[in-house]
């Protein structure tokens, strides 16, 4: 009669184990879809490159890993406080070679970000070094950090 409960318990235990494994999976996953341990999915190709935004006092700095992309393949625009970074990296087999393995896929990307403070669009600079794109956006004078002195009365 009570064997039924035993089976029920067993089922619950199985579910608990499943949940534990899923939790572990998520805790190992650090939110970056660019992780080679995680097979690339459609999401990975739609979110490339991953971008970090820094506040460096007088500037806002955007950094993105764009290995194999050269400066002529990149277009960067800013309008109305929206920064957009677009470009393309072709996956070509060099002339005369045959491919054994191609993990570096072809990417065509366009990402837009709203810039969290007013920036001086004229003085934005973008550099690319060792496969890392750095966009430096000087803040507009009214958005610059300012020290306010307290006056004793």
């Amino acid at each position: 009669m009570f064997t039924g409960f035993g089976d029920f318990d067993k089922t619950l235990t199985t579910f608990d184990e499943l949940r534990r494994r899923m939790d572990r999976l998520w805790s190992e996953f650090d939110g970056s879809w660019d992780d080679p341990r995680w097979p690339s999915t459609s999401l990975a190709s739609s979110t490339w490159p991953l971008v970090n935004l820094y506040d460096a006092g007088a500037n806002l700095v955007v950094k993105a890993d764009v290995p194999g992309v050269s400066e002529k393949d990149l277009q960067i625009h800013i309008s109305n406080g929206t920064l957009s970074i677009g470009g393309e990296r072709k996956s070509v087999v060099p002339e005369g070679y045959t491919a054994h393995r191609q993990e570096r896929g072809e990417v065509k990307f366009l990402r837009s970000f709203s810039v969290p403070s007013k920036v001086d669009a004229e003085r934005i600079t973008a550099t690319i070094k060792d496969g890392v794109l750095t966009v430096t956006m000087p803040k507009a004078p009214e958005a610059q950090p300012r020290q306010i002195t307290v006056q004793a009365q």
């Binding site: 935004l53 820094y54 006092g57 290995p67 194999g68 570096r104």
Partner: protein, 129 residues
Amino acid sequence: MNTSQNLAQRPRHTTDPIQQHATVAARVDVFENKDEVLLLAEMPGATADGVNVHLDQGKLTISGRRPPLDAPGVLLAGEFQPRDYHRTFAIPQGIDGAKIAAKFVDGVLQIHLPKSETLKPRRIEVKAG
């Protein structure tokens, strides 16, 4: 007594900041033609002097270190964490280890592994007897 004085006198925040990067496998393309095997490995953010190519007993190990603390300011929004790179390959027999050449361009490590003479395709003339 002495120790406690030292402790008290030690200026604060003198330790080196520690930042540990996780290490991931670099993504690679492998190509081959009749003269060589060409390996391209993505290592964005690594610097040329932080990139190492090492051949030992038929195993080619590549690694790339990103300079620590290259954040230009306070992180407002982050989608990725900078990572170091590492990967090992078994090299087929017949690669001339002495002639391996490597270059680091646009965050991509390019390694040319020339085949030794014995491995190159060769046409053998058939003579009429």
